[in-house]
């Protein structure tokens, strides 16, 4: 589904199907994800939002007994093809998870990890990148005096921003957020939302959210999914004011979900 021909397309999904064993989780989904925009996926629980998101950085490859069909073009290259280099895709497409999942290491080590596994050895470079990433994730001021203490001592909201910083450190082009505020309080949620608005200047962002107001606040485009299908995809402002599909209207008005 393409709705704006002026925008540069970063990811183009064409007729995607995804199966967990026999269960058909995503049905004939086609969508364009635009470069340096925020695209939100909304829909009731279990409709396949996370499944689609995890296709974008090939995390579903880790689930046994799954099958993907269709083409998923990342900058024109089909990442569903068998010989795709998983590691290089994951470097380009970072992910922030529903529950903050820092490593049981220090704050510094958490951020430096992505660089180290990618073969960066230069200590000064790493130090600089750690600071940059923490600044971009709006966490630097809060942690600059305790970089070498455990990341597990941070609050939930700080941990989530740490996870964002960790993801930024490997310089991805796309960042996937899977309900990043689901376990956070309103103030932390607010901070993450501000951060997403800031980050979209430099990154393409795809966010799954349960929260329609959140989608309305942070996204440029919204995709509404229902039972594995993409029901409607449009500019957020348009969809939230004049939805075209009756199902979308029902969902947005809180009739189910």
């Amino acid at each position: 589904m393409s709705i704006n021909n002026e925008e540069k397309i970063k990811i183009k999904a064409d007729n995607i199907n995804f199966y967990y064993g026999q269960s058909h989780a995503i049905k004939n989904l086609s969508i364009d994800i635009y470069d340096k925009k925020v695209t939100a996926f909304i829909g009731p629980s279990g409709c396949g939002k996370s499944t689609f998101l995890r296709m974008l950085n090939k995390m579903n490859d880790l689930v046994p007994n799954t099958r993907a069909e269709g083409t998923l073009l990342f900058d024109g290259q089909d990442i569903l093809e068998k010989n795709t280099d998983v590691v290089s895709i994951r470097k380009k497409v970072g992910m922030v998870f529903q529950k903050p999942n820092p490593f049981p290491k220090t704050i510094f080590q958490n951020i430096a990890y992505g660089l180290e596994v990618n073969g960066v050895k230069d200590k000064d470079f790493i130090r600089k990148r750690v600071e940059d990433s923490l600044r971009k994730a709006a966490l630097w001021e809060e942690v600059k005096t305790r970089l070498h203490t455990s990341a597990l001592m941070l609050s939930g909201g700080q941990q989530q921003r740490l996870c964002i910083a960790r993801c930024l450190a490997v310089e991805p082009q796309v960042i996937l957020f899977d309900e990043p505020c689901a376990s956070l309080d309103p103030i932390s949620t607010n901070k993450i939302e501000e951060l997403i608005l800031e980050l979209k200047k430099f990154y393409t962002i795809v966010i799954v959210t349960h929260n329609m107001q959140q989608a309305a606040r942070v996204s440029d485009y919204t995709a509404f999914m229902y039972l594995g299908e993409l029901i409607e995809f449009d500019k957020t402002a348009t969809m939230f004011t004049v939805p075209k599909q009756p199902k979308t209207e029902e969902y947005l008005s809180g009739k189910f979900g």
Binding site: N57, M59, L62, V87, S88, R90, K91, G94, M95, F97, K99, N101, P102, F103, P104, K105, Y113, G114, E116, V117, N118, T149, S150, L152, M153, C163, R166, C167, V170
Partner: protein
Amino acid sequence: MKNKISQFLGFSIITICIIITLFFLASIIYLIAAKGLSAISWEFLTSIPRKSMTEGGVAPAIIGTFYLVVGSILIALPLGIACAIYINEYSPTGYMVNIIRMSINNLAGVPSVVFGLFGLAVFVNFFGFGVSILSGSLTLAMLILPSIISASQESLMAVPYSIREASLALGATQWQTIRKIVLPTALPGIMTGVILSIGRAAGETAPILFTAATFYRRSYPKSPLDETMALPYHIYALMTEGTHPDKQVAIAYGCSLILLAVVLLISAFAIILRNKYRSTYVN
């Protein structure tokens, strides 16, 4: 009211159980200390046995036990961790995992004297290591392998899936994830398994009976291929052989006390190592 009574009863039973356990523990230590302390002296700790074990010290047995324990841990630890990683992280087909699990459980049920015979047949004779520290360490390693594997496996399993995902999502390979995230997180738990194995390896007599231990030796072992004296076997020998049972019994209790101390010492070292690791990694 009824709840209060049953709570009181429950607590009482638990308290009694604890007291009984502590009583046994205390009486063991007391008995050994009371009977063994008199035998212990600087000479006892540092010199070789003389006059068919009735005089002199047991230093070669202390050294021998130390070598056997450290040797068996050094062999069993990498093997056990590798096994646990294979079962837990690489999840081969269910069929394979079941076979491996079954083998490990069976291994855990084998009586230690059977390990001794196995060691004799395989390490001493087949590989030609002879009766030696090497053969004994290998045999003891087989003995402690099951507990090291299950401790490692449990600790690996306790590492949350979410942080493996986090690592993979950053572009780390599965091997990098295991080596840099999963293993360091699991290591304190693995060390706990090691600590429990230390006592086992130090105390077992049967596995070293045919593979490593000698009754009497006037010098310290110089190479892994030397046979050695060892504390548990020395105790056994003192109590069953020789011509001066009156003197020998006291020495045997002295040896028991030292054996306890050796286990405690090596365990303490492992515990310190674990705690140090825990505080740098997890906190």
